[in-house]
């Protein structure tokens, strides 16, 4: 890989230890994956924020990186933390955890990274445009940026996204190159799909087939006439979780579907496939075992918060009901009066965090959610049973 004089100097340590380490990570990746050079990026999303995931070792790594004067060179936002930064006590987070979580956030903010603490940076201000080279972590956001926005990013790990933030560069390989964005499989959807729940099930159905094929081919999906931003964010989260996918093309909806033809090899998804996918996420057992209800994986949009407020007006919830969203989105919800309606109904705002990364292992028996991604982590990481249902039914479940 060819480095500029400036890049070589940074690699030799002239811009300090954190920048040297950042450059070392990028050069190593570029060398491994055959990049010809580093290219500038305009936007970064950093994952690896919850102290529950980082542990003390991860925190030390970040504190080391932040100890000099290295600063993010481009717009950089942060993934969800392990707690609501302001309201953590109401979520039952202990004080030691909170202190450590604050140290993580401090390390990032010292490096000039904006603590949005959200998996949906594209809903408020970190919105790359078509063809823009970016470096994002967070699998659901990577899939959204590549597919829906048509920006270009590899699936970055926490440290490599941080390295891109500090240097403003990323190695030129993988999804940065047009030839690697070509679809390898047509998916014909012969079913009616709607809502976050329906699109989540579609992500499971397609993701599991591609995962089983052991080749991460890019699907070109036809047969879906329309999809809202909320449905697409749900689909991206599900497809990334169950298929490890970072990019899809959706005919008539995503921009690069215009660049490519649908490939010959074809997979058909029927109504029955969708039902099977939904059933896969539903643990056997009565729904009345549900003792935890959560909406907001990925983080709720303003429109979804409006809908929750509408359904909760004048009623009381009877179970712990977490509303997970980004703080910027919540600020507008505050102004619109949604927040007070939701809180008066007894639901709890868990801003900055979500039920995937908060330290709630073993705290509940069974979760009700509309999110296919949340089901995966609720079961694998937190040991909960999962009940997967449409958005409005999740709210109804909280009222039972």
């Amino acid at each position: 890989m060819e480095l500029s004089e400036e890049e070589q100097k940074i690699l030799n340590g002239y811009a300090g230890e954190a920048n040297r380490k950042a450059m070392e990570i990028l050069v190593a990746l570029g060398t491994i994956y055959g990049a010809d050079r580093l290219i500038p990026v305009t936007s970064v999303q950093v994952s690896g924020v919850s102290y529950d995931n980082l542990g003390e070792a991860g925190l030390e790594f970040l504190a080391d990186m932040a100890s000099g004067d290295a600063k993010a060179k481009v717009l950089t936002t942060l993934n969800p933390a392990g707690m609501d930064i302001e309201n953590w006590r109401a979520l039952g987070i202990d004080a030691d955890f909170a202190k450590n979580q604050e140290r993580v956030i401090e390390a990032y903010t010292k490096m000039g990274i904006i603590p949005t603490c959200s998996c949906t940076p594209y809903l408020f201000g970190n919105v790359p445009h078509y063809g823009e080279h970016i470096s994002w972590g967070e699998s659901s956001a990577v899939c959204f940026a590549n597919s829906v926005l048509g920006a270009r990013t590899n699936r970055e790990g926490g440290p490599s996204a941080l390295a891109a933030a500090l240097t403003g560069k990323t190695p030129n390989y993988g999804f940065h190159l047009t030839e690697n964005r070509r679809p390898g499989l047509s998916v014909q959807v012969r079913a009616t799909i709607s809502g976050t729940h329906g699109f989540g099930a579609l992500g499971v159905a397609i993701g599991k087939v591609i995962e089983a094929q052991n080749t991460k081919c890019i699907p070109y999906i036809v047969g879906i006439p329309q999809a809202s931003i909320e449905e697409l964010k749900s689909f991206c989260a599900s497809l990334a979780t169950y298929g490890g996918l970072a990019l899809f093309h959706l005919q008539g909806i995503t921009p690069e579907s215009l660049l490519f033809e649908a490939p010959q090899t074809s997979l058909v998804i029927t109504q029955e496939d969708l039902e099977n996918a939904a059933n896969f996420l539903n643990d056997p057992g009565p729904v009345d075992e549900v003792d935890f209800v959560s909406l907001g994986c990925p983080h709720l949009s303003l429109q979804e918060l409006a809908r929750v407020a509408d359904r909760l007006k004048g009623v009381k919830v009877k179970k712990p009901f977490w509303i997970t969203t980004a703080r910027p989105t919540k600020y507008i919800a505050d102004q619109m009066g949604y927040t007070s309606i939701i809180e008066e109904a007894g639901a709890i705002f868990a801003s900055d965090t979500c039920c995937v990364v908060a330290p709630i292992k073993g705290r509940f028996k069974a979760i009700a959610t509309d999110s296919a991604k949340a089901c995966y982590y609720a079961a694998a990481k937190n040991g909960f049973k999962t009940h997967f249902m449409p958005f409005d039914e999740v709210i109804a479940e909280a009222l039972k």
Binding site: K21, E24, I25, A28, L29, I32, Y33, S47, G48, N53, L54, G55, E56, A57, G58, E60, F61, G137, E138, S139, V142, N154, R155, E156, G157, G158, P159, S160, A161, G244, A380, K381
Partner: protein, 129 residues
């Protein structure tokens, strides 16, 4: 027997081979406090990766996995080296920041549990001793 692969992360190491036919997700799949593989249904479930030459086709799962490798290293539970058929970004970055030698493009079907393996990552060499 000697195999020539590609350097992912530099270093020299020697240890007993622990071989999986499956992908590994470091985040969620391995407990950083113990080095034990905890993924349900994994062919190495319950085994420790500590000080082993860990051999598996490729990584999978969460983008936080690089930090899990770093936690394993700091807790003294990291593998001595990692050998992949094809290393992906998450494993590669985890090895680089944790100083774990890593080599890929090795025909891993030739490596069996319990073999004594030497890895010279700089030159991409994997040797069965």
């Amino acid at each position: 027997m000697i195999f020539h692969g590609r350097k992912i992360s530099p270093g020299v190491a020697e240890g007993e081979a622990l071989v999986s036919a499956m992908g590994i997700s470091f985040y969620g799949g391995i407990e950083p406090e113990t080095g034990l593989i905890v993924e349900k249904g994994h062919d190495l479930l319950g085994q420790s990766i500590r000080e082993k030459v860990l051999i598996f086709p490729t990584g999978k799962g969460s983008t936080v996995g690089s930090y899990t490798l770093y936690r394993l290293k700091k807790a003294g539970n990291a593998p001595a080296a990692i050998i992949n058929a094809e290393s992906e970004t998450i494993t590669a970055v985890g090895c680089i920041i944790s100083d774990i030698p890593c080599v890929d493009h090795i025909p891993i079907e030739n490596l069996k549990n319990g073999m004594r393996i030497r890895v010279v990552a700089e030159t991409g060499i994997v040797e069965i001793l």
